[in-house]
């Protein structure tokens, strides 16, 4: 929460448009969702690319490491990123 207040302009992953790359800065929370995101390799410092959005704008398809992953926008909103 504190970090959110310090950097109010930093976007979250769900705000990144299709085709854009971004670097992960922080994940917020300690629940099962964040644990799963970590396990899937969404770590601080890792780079991801938004590949596509589903027909109704949610969920989103990502490319990271050597594979592709789909996240709901509400899940991506837990990830703070820097657009590259």
């Amino acid at each position: 929460m504190l970090r959110l207040l310090e950097t109010p302009t930093m976007p979250t992953l769900d705000q990144i448009p299709v085709g854009q790359r971004a670097r992960i800065e922080a994940l917020h929370g300690s629940d099962g969702l964040v644990q799963r995101l970590y396990e899937m390799g969404l770590l601080e410092g890792e780079e991801v690319e938004v590949i596509a959005l589903a027909p109704m704008g949610d969920p989103m398809e990502l490319q990271l490491r050597d594979y592709r992953l789909s996240l709901r926008c509400s899940e991506a909103a837990r990830i703070q990123v820097t657009p590259l």
Binding site: G32, R36, A52, P55, R68, L69
Partner: protein, 807 residues
């Protein structure tokens, strides 16, 4: 009947070595397991969980090994009893299972880092690990070059490169497994593992001291790492609330030194993975454009992706609906032939009736689902194996999330429009338990194809003649829409009440596309068919036999002077009936012959010279005169036959009325009267418990028109003209009823009956499959109850409002 071909459960010999297979989904784990374990496999179920493990045997170097296939997972951080199974099994805590002597960690070589995450967890379980690098060809296709020997050196593990789908590397893997397993447990000691920060290890040691040595070290780490995880729940039960406070305090201390959970685990493991894979993977400077990239550009495209998805779903749906039809017709025809042959060759009596109307009809009723199950599971296996299933869930997720479900519920729900039985079986693709349950519980609300005969009959009889041309279509649409609208609403309600809980994590891997394996697809189809027959089939058969008995007994006709059974009385009508039918046929043939002669004569007459026509004309007149009495005789025969049939049906009706089910129907008349039904509809509804479509046949028997084949109705265009439809239109309330003499079926009654059958769960197969998939009787009982209440209320509202509006 042939005995099941699956091997019988044999106790595990203590001296036999066990190999466990662990891996992420989409790594070819099933293919590897099938290759190692061969055809003789059995399924292991554990109490309280919905996941299964598969077991088989592998022979290598003259020794036999047990092979266990663990459920596919991304991590050994259990959040539910289902996810705990793999951990318990590897730790040797699963009751009735021996701790494995070696774990094969199968990884996708083209996606090494993320796959190795699970391997690093396996390294902490005290069992030797062998790394199987699968899909080496896919990695090569992406331009990745792997230095296998260096990887083995840096990880200090045996590493075997594989192409499991082509059988490449399997012999080597077997040898390595045999070697490592025989040296257990010493070989586990030399294994490297990621080292966690010192602060973390201190907290783990402190916790271990608190919970005692009997708790495995791995579980103590999980206790600390998994916030709200299953280890917390399980240890909390035995160790009390103070433990939770201690764990909480430890997590806070860790956070203050920059090792906050759960991030510390991922950082440590991925950091270590980067270290041990350094220099082992060579990537091309520019990531090549793969087939997956190209296909995804179209298949997950907003417009094209959706269109292709819809077309594909239409094909799936259409084939369950129509391609299965001929097969189902054959099964029904076979059932009819066998029943007819048995009835002709066996003496009359309860045993024959049990065999014909109970067993043969029941087995037929079970087998008839097989074509749909095989087709649907063929598609599902195909879509899953080629990697498209994840895309389908991706495309449909937003829509399904509106009713609290996820994209994975879409295909099971859609399949349920054809038939809920394969639909419910298809919910296996949903990993999340509450989502899966919610989908299972609402799937039977979708309007399945078995409802169609009921709709066709009643719409045909009451809403087609003398009504606006658009009415039948609108009513049919409304009945389908009823299910389509109610199913999501009930799902939402369930997810907000009974199945409430935190929103399940969606996070879905989109695997690379690959060519599906015909063998795997075929295997999944056969497995699903077997599962259905073995686990659900027996229950369906039993329910059919129960309903048969309730409609059969008591079988003595008390009005008969000799107190014969109804069947015997009915049999006395058989001979006169078949005699008259033969006679009728004979006379009709003769008539047809004469008509042909007459026509020929008339043609000849035209070609003759005028002088000779007189004789020919006379001959024609003679023939015509002979036709008249013959036609009369045939008409008399027809009347006689109709009389006998009527007597036959009358006896049958009395029989059904006297039967246990008939009495129950009479008792229940006050309950069904507010729906506009008389006892006869009540009995038909009760008797249709094994399967909805049976109601058409039962109505036929009770309304004295003889047995009706539901399959026949879907083809009869002019349903309103069929005898059953006419009988329904004419049916009157019986003497003694408050509405005696009035017609039973008004339009509101027909609507109320259709709404009832749209919403009720009169389908033993669905209930049996729910029992099989949820592992308890609670859920089928719940489904039956809520749907029957919904159906009753729906029918009540429709009838009361309907009569209020139209009189």
């Amino acid at each position: 009947m042939a005995t099941p071909s699956l091997p019988v459960e044999t106790p595990i010999a203590s001296d036999r070595l066990t190999v466990a297979l662990l891996g992420n989904p989409n790594t070819g784990k099933t293919t590897l397991f099938n290759a190692l374990a061969g055809l003789r496999q059995r399924v292991g179920n554990y109490p309280g969980v919905t996941v299964e493990t598969k077991k088989g045997q592998m022979t290598c170097c003259g020794k036999v090994f047990d092979v266990v296939d663990l459920p596919g997972t991304y991590s050994l951080a259990p959040r539910s009893p289902d996810e705990m199974v793999a951990v318990d099994l590897i730790l040797g805590h699963q009751e009735g299972e021996k701790q494995p002597d070696v774990v094969v960690s199968i990884v996708d070589a083209s996606n090494l880092e993320r796959n190795l995450y699970l391997t690093t967890q396996a390294l902490e379980l005290g069992v030797p690990v062998v790394l199987a690098l699968n899909m080496m060809d896919v990695a090569a296709g992406q331009g990745l070059r792997l230095d296998v020997e260096r990887l083995a050196q840096q990880m200090a593990l045996p590493v075997v490169p594989l192409q499991a789908n082509k059988g490449v590397g399997l012999d080597r893997l077997r040898q390595v497994l045999a070697e490592v397993a025989s040296h257990h447990p010493t070989s586990a000691q030399g294994q490297k593992r990621p080292s966690f920060p010192a602060a973390f290890e201190q907290e783990v040691a402190a916790l271990q001291a608190m919970v005692g040595e009997e708790v495995a070290p791995y579980l103590v780490r999980r206790l600390l790492l998994d916030v709200g995880g299953y280890t917390e729940q399980r240890l909390g039960q035995t160790l009390g609330a103070s433990l939770a406070q201690q764990v909480q305090a430890a997590r806070q201390r860790l956070a203050s030194v920059g090792c906050s959970v759960p991030g510390v685990e991922a950082r440590t493991r991925y950091g270590w993975i980067r270290e041990v894979t350094a220099g082992c993977v060579q990537r091309p400077a520019q990531r090549p454009v793969t087939w997956t990239d190209r296909l995804d550009r179209v298949l997950t495209h907003r417009l094209w992706g959706t269109l292709i998805f819809l077309v594909m779903m239409f094909l799936v749906f259409q084939s369950i609906f129509t391609a299965a039809r001929p097969l189902m017709d054959w099964i029904n025809a076979g059932k009819g032939l066998l029943a007819g042959w048995l009835r002709d060759s066996l003496p009359i009596g309860p045993l024959t009736s049990l065999l014909v109307d109970g067993v043969v009809a029941g087995v037929g009723g079970v087998l008839v689902f097989l074509p749909q199950i095989l087709i649907l599971f063929g598609f599902i296996a195909l879509l899953e194996d080629c990697g498209y299933m994840a895309r389908a869930a991706f495309l449909m997720d937003k829509l399904m999330s509106r009713c609290g479900l996820s994209g994975k519920s879409f295909i099971p729900m859609l399949s349920s429009v054809a038939c809920a039985v394969p639909g419910i079986m298809a919910t296996r693709v949903i990993e999340h338990r509450r989502d899966r349950l919610a989908t299972i519980l609402v799937a039977p609300l979708m309007s399945c194809s078995a409802r169609l005969p009921v709709y066709i009959l009643l719409i045909g009889a009451f809403l087609s003649v003398g009504r606006p041309w658009w009415l039948p279509g609108v009513v049919m649409f409304a009945l389908y829409a009823l299910g389509l609208v109610l199913a999501p609403l009930v799902a939402l309600l369930l997810k907000r009440t009974l199945l409430r809980g935190e929103t399940p994590v969606f996070v879905l891997e989109m695997p690379s596309y690959k060519c599906p394996s015909a063998r795997l697809v075929l295997r999944r189809m056969l497995e699903s068919a077997w599962n259905f027959l073995y686990r659900a089939g027996t229950l369906i058969l039993a329910s059919m036999i129960v309903v048969w008995a309730l409609l059969y007994f008591p079988s003595t006709d008390r009005e008969d002077p000799q107190q014969r059974s109804f069947e015997e009385v009915l049999a006395t009508l058989d001979q006169p009936l078949s005699d008259r039918r033969d006679e009728q046929k004979e006379k009709e043939e003769k008539l047809a012959d004469l008509r042909v002669q007459l026509t020929q004569l008339k043609v000849q007459e035209q070609t003759l010279p005028l002088a000779q026509r007189g004789a020919a004309h006379q001959q024609c007149q003679q023939l015509e005169a002979a036709l008249v009495p013959l036609e009369g005789e045939i008409n008399d025969l027809k009347t006689a036959i109709a009389e006998i049939e009527k007597a036959h049906n009358h006896i049958t009706e009395r029989w059904k009325q006297q039967s246990l089910l008939g009495r129950l129907g009479k008792l229940l008349e006050p309950v069904v009267e507010p729906l506009g039904w008389d006892w006869r509809i009540g009995v038909a509804a009760l008797a249709s418990f094994p399967a909805r479509e049976v109601v058409v046949g039962t109505l036929g028997i009770i309304y004295e028109v003889g047995e009706v084949d539901p399959g026949e109705l879907s083809e009869a265009k002019e349903v309103a003209q069929t005898r059953l439809a006419r009988a329904l239109q004419e049916a009157k309330w019986e003497e003694g009823s408050a509405r005696a003499g009035q017609k039973v079926y008004s339009v509101p009654t027909a609507l109320s009956l259709m709404v009832f059958f749209a919403l009720c769960c009169q389908c033993a197969s669905t209930l049996a499959v729910i029992r099989r998939e949820t592992g308890s009787w609670r859920w089928p009982a719940f489904t039956f109850t809520y749907m029957t209440v919904l159906a009753y209320v729906g029918a009540l509202v429709v009838y009361q409002v309907g009569t209020g509006l139209f009189g």
